[in-house]
């Protein structure tokens, strides 16, 4: 207990200057990100384009959450590398098929490319992990800084268990 070192999920997330509501537009939000997060943000937005009342990924600050994951020693280095490498791989596929990067494609082209890579082992795995971390952001306790105002919980009428965490409990 005395030696616990907290991973600063909250600091990274609450300290972020890229909350969408402060920026106003998702396009601008994506544009100010640096690669590979620019590509990853676009893919996540395509996977979770809001419908059925779901909050948008940028309102959940999924990218901020993902950056905190990259600092988390409880997540293996192989997993982190794979998440980042996937952005490069999908851009290679985009170049192969359209001679453009992923974020430069039209929505229908992006959808077709996602469908194509989901049939490959690396693509299925990569997209699954992006969904995994998006769900983690969506359902994590607001104390972690992603599921602000419980918007993820409210969407699916999810009731948390009690006691809820009063602080970030990720540590090494």
């Amino acid at each position: 207990m005395r030696r616990r070192k907290f991973i600063q999920y909250s600091v990274i997330l609450f300290g972020s200057t890229i909350f969408a509501k402060e920026i106003g537009s998702y396009a601008l939000y994506v544009s100010i990100l640096k690669e590979p997060y620019q590509t990853i943000a676009q893919v996540i937005d395509d996977l979770f384009t809001p419908s059925a009342g779901m909050p948008a990924p940028h309102s959940l600050n999924v990218i901020g959450f993902l950056k905190a994951v990259m600092e988390d020693k409880r997540v293996s280095n192989e997993r982190k590398k794979n998440i980042l490498d996937g952005a490069r791989w999908i851009n290679q596929s985009a170049q192969d098929h359209y001679i453009k990067n992923y974020i430069e494609l039209l929505p229908d082209q992006r959808e077709a490319l996602l469908r194509k890579i989901s049939q490959k082992q690396w693509g299925d795995s990569w997209l699954w992990y992006l969904m995994n971390y998006t769900f983690e952001a969506m359902f994590s306790d607001p104390v972690y800084g992603a599921n602000r105002d419980k918007i993820g919980w409210k969407w699916l009428e999810y009731e948390p268990g009690f006691p809820r965490p009063m602080k970030v409990n990720i540590y090494v």
């Binding site: 207990m1 979770f48 809001p50 983690e136 359902f139 994590s140 948390p160 990720i170 540590y171």
Partner: protein, 558 residues
């Protein structure tokens, strides 16, 4: 010098610490993990279930796992490079902190599997050297001291009991339990209210259950769950005779030719210290107990402590079986039933044991137990269960979101877990890997995994029976998964007890054949595991061994 030093603080430790400290003996408990109490436990899926904060990071502590290729050769992989994680609750009280507390006793025939059902080719089945009657008084003791809640009903495999009923009334039951009972009645099955190591109300100096909807995998914030720390170690501490040191990793047991003499451990500052005691008890959970013995070589035991006959680590077993699920949909239910289906917090508390033994081709076959419950409330894992369509294609966008909305708000999954014997074989055992070290530089445990084909056959038979109940209840999208994948939290064996020093490590009282003052009291002693979760049996056996140790102290044998 302590009277007794116990390595590990879980279900194998706590009854001995409780009984010996109350008898005035000086007890030291050394626990590798941290010292959490009720105030440290939160319903935090990210920390508990996604980041596994109650187990060591695999880059610091891991196992090496050996699995068999299709050509019969063996391949090994480091835990940190794979999805294998054989750690369980690393904390004071051990993995009992995180159990669901489904408590079943082993049946009389579980103690004599070989003589009742005969040998099976490729399996190392033996009878236990004690009978159910030897353990029954201690099962009863656990009910009263640890606290077991439930309600006895007659059924074909109800084991003999010295108490008419459980000492605590059942926990709050979900209305779906009556739907389950009705379905079983129609099918001619015997619905059993599952006993739980959970207190429904304040008792035994502990708070009652808060029905948080997050029990299994989570630490209990009220103390209602009968974990080793809340139920027993806290009371041992109250005697003033028990000391618990957390963050203390025991890496070697020293001995001469007749006695264990001292143990060496690293404290939280990574300082190497040692402790002497009259009696040592090893209860670090099956895999780690064998690892510590194998890492404790000396001139008297050149192959590892107690291993002069090559038996340490052998016949490792898990709980065989698997799980299944079906979906109950709002559109198939009345408005009243829709409302109760989404009720959170209450327990299902139902099991079937109609096929604990069954006939096949004129032969008696050992079967098992089926527990029924709701899908775990963890939202991330529930959501991830929806990301593939029925053709195993990943889905996203509106299709996924509609599926999620339906799954969370218009339906609920009802699930089952199958428990049957994992037959002990020559190819399932613990060794150490001298080339792979943990953060202290100690050789890690190497686990060879193999299961007997019979395990799958029995599990599949039971799963088919469970599916009939789900169908009768009106569930759809029914599936089951019976596999040879070992559940890391249901592990036993490695230091069998028995009468033959050539084929067993421990005597009938779980004392080492080879040393006069070393006992092993986690599930390592079990030559077969029964077809139930192990915790109740570990507790009961540890109370039994405590009586034997006290007898020896009282008779001046120590």
């Amino acid at each position: 010098m302590y009277d007794i030093c116990i390595i590990g603080s879980g279900a194998g430790c706590a009854p001995i610490a409780y009984e010996l400290s109350r008898a005035g003996k000086k007890v030291l408990v050394l626990e590798k993990g941290r010292y959490y109490t009720e105030k440290d436990f939160f319903k935090d899926e990210l920390a508990v279930s996604r980041r596994d904060i109650y187990t060591p990071p695999l880059h610091e502590q891991q196992h090496v796992i050996e699995t068999q290729n299709s050509d019969g050769s063996w391949q090994s992989v480091k835990g940190e490079k794979s999805s294998w994680n054989f750690w369980n609750g690393s904390m004071v009280g051990g993995s009992s902190n995180l159990m669901s507390g489904y408590f079943h006793r082993m049946k009389p025939n579980d103690f004599k599997l070989a003589s009742t059902y005969g040998q099976i080719d490729g399996a190392n089945i033996v009878d236990w050297v004690i009978d159910y009657e030897d353990l029954e008084p201690y099962y009863d003791k656990v009910e009263k001291i640890v606290g077991v809640s439930g309600r006895i009903v007659k059924h074909p495999f109800l084991e003999p009991r010295s108490s008419a009923d459980y000492p605590f009334k059942p926990t709050w039951e979900h209305p779906i339990s009556s739907w389950f009972d009705a379905a079983c009645k129609e099918l001619g099955y015997h619905s059993i209210p599952t006993a739980r190591a959970v207190l429904p109300d304040d008792a035994l100096g502990r708070k009652g259950c808060s029905y948080s909807n997050f029990c299994g995998s989570y630490g209990c914030a009220t103390g209602a769950k009968g974990n080793a720390r809340s139920a027993l170690l806290n009371k041992a501490l109250q005697t003033g005779n028990c000391t618990i040191l957390s963050d203390s990793f025991v890496y070697k047991i020293e001995s001469d030719d007749t006695k264990a003499t001292k143990i060496h451990y690293y404290n939280e500052n990574n300082e190497s210290l040692h402790v002497k005691a009259k009696i040592f008890v090893l209860a670090a959970q099956a895999i780690e107990s064998s690892r510590l013995l194998l890492n404790s070589k000396n001139s008297y035991f050149p192959n590892g402590l107690l291993n002069n006959h090559g038996q340490v680590g052998k016949n490792l077993i898990f709980s065989a079986g698997g799980s299944g699920e079906g979906r109950l949909r709002f559109e198939d239910l009345s408005k009243d039933k829709q409302n109760v289906l989404l009720l959170r917090g209450a327990f299902v508390n139902r099991s079937l044991q109609d096929w604990y033994e069954y006939e096949e081709n004129g032969q008696r076959v050992k079967g098992g137990t089926i527990d029924f419950l709701f899908e775990h409330a963890n939202p991330t894992s529930r959501a991830l269960g929806e990301v593939y369509d029925k053709d195993s294609n990943l889905i996203w966008g509106a299709k996924l979101q509609q599926k999620l909305k339906y799954a969370f708000t218009r339906s609920r999954k009802f699930t089952f877990e199958v428990f049957n014997d994992w037959l002990p074989t020559d190819d399932c055992f613990v060794d150490v890997d001298d080339k792979v070290k943990d953060k202290w530089g100690v050789a890690v445990g190497k686990i060879r995994l193999n299961s007997h084909h019979r395990d799958i056959e029995v599990g599949t038979y039971l799963a088919k029976k469970a599916v009939t109940v789900l169908k009768k209840m009106g569930a759809v999208e029914i599936s089951s998964n019976i596999s040879s994948a070992p559940p890391p939290n249901l592990v036993a064996g490695g230091c069998r007890f028995g009468n033959d020093v050539q084929t067993s490590v421990l005597d009938k009282n779980c004392k080492a054949h080879a040393l006069d003052n070393l006992y092993v009291t986690d599930a390592s002693f079990m030559p077969t595991g029964g077809s139930v979760p192990y915790t109740w049996t570990i507790y009961a056996n540890s109370f039994r061994v405590a009586d034997e140790i006290l007898r020896r102290f009282n008779n001046k044998e120590i």
